[in-house]
Symmetry: C2
Subunit: 197 residues, 2 copies
């Protein structure tokens, strides 16, 4: 699950956690310092720069990026182990990172969380109250650029209302499990059509 910065990915994910306890959440690795209450292995895997650079060198990350001086990335091992156990895993991820994951997992399901409108996105970014006008303008132009990447995604979910958005994501997960191509891939061979059952 991805989408432009400020669209509400974190809030939607927190809500999904309550609704779908069976869904596993990918835990990112980062070099930034833990904030109060954050727990290693739950909120993030907290790493030193050296540890993180080793993970990059060992291709242990599905994607990674540097943001405001800190590294963030998705450990490949945790994703692989979850999928191997037959469970669904959700990645809450920036747009550029999602496109990198798609290169490695084209069979994944890529959901783009959309603001109801660009005006609404500006209000949400402004509403955080922590940025000046230039920063907001810059983040808006990045967001518009990111919206143009929607065409690389399978689904677009408008985050107009948190419960509605979560319901749509749950429906997408249910529907994807019903896709004929997935079921055919898992199905034992049917008896030949001419054979009596």
């Amino acid at each position: 699950m991805s989408g432009p910065s400020g669209v509400g990915k974190g809030t939607v994910c927190a809500n999904l956690r309550h609704r779908m306890p069976e869904l596993i959440y990918s835990v990112s690795a980062t070099t930034r310092h833990p904030r109060q209450g954050e727990i290693n292995g739950i909120n993030y895997f907290f790493k030193s720069r050296e540890q993180f650079q080793d993970m990059i060198a060992n291709d242990a990350l599905l994607e990674w990026a540097e943001y405001v001086g800190n590294y963030y990335g998705t450990p490949r091992d945790f994703v692989d182990r979850t999928l191997a156990s037959g469970k669904d895993i959700i990645l809450e991820i920036e747009v550029q990172g999602a496109l990198k994951v798609k290169q490695k997992f084209p069979e994944g399901v890529f959901i783009f969380l959309m603001p109801p409108s660009l005006e609404e996105l500006r209000q949400r970014i402004t509403g955080r109250g922590t940025e000046n006008a230039d920063v907001i303008d810059h983040r808006m132009s990045v967001a518009v650029e990111e919206m143009n990447l929607l065409r690389h995604y399978d689904y677009a979910v408008v985050n107009d209302e948190i419960d509605a958005a979560c319901h749509r994501i749950q429906s997408i997960i249910t529907a994807e499990h019903c896709q004929a191509k997935r079921i055919l891939a898992d199905m034992p061979q049917l008896p030949a059509a001419s054979e009596k059952a």
Copy 2:
């Protein structure tokens, strides 16, 4: 929505009607006589053989078939008018008919209702108590043949339990409305990426 004979299409559809009153149900045309309580235009459009043959001649049917001496078909006009009004329409339809509809509406969503197992399907067919062993064997071999057509469908929904099957179909409808390709087709052009929002 389609699936082998005996899988429970009618029961699932009746249940969906209660759950999704906003969904429009396609009404078939038939030359068979109305059963007690059946209403023209609600259960079927009841037609004479001459009227039905005129509809065939005028290409007024999306698909049609003759079954035990009676014609059954899907009037194209009702489907077209519903789609033009922006509503969703569901067709409860035999497997062969669904494949004909797919030729005319490749953008439709094709759901295959599956029995939990072939043993369970035989029990359901037998359970109706109206058929002899030869008829049941014949219907089973037709059903197996129809199961092999699953690969032409978008989704497979196992009808293990009526509420669960209906929930899956509702999820599929919700998810399809979130498909990026549908949303992109309906979306006004975004501002160019370089332009400030």
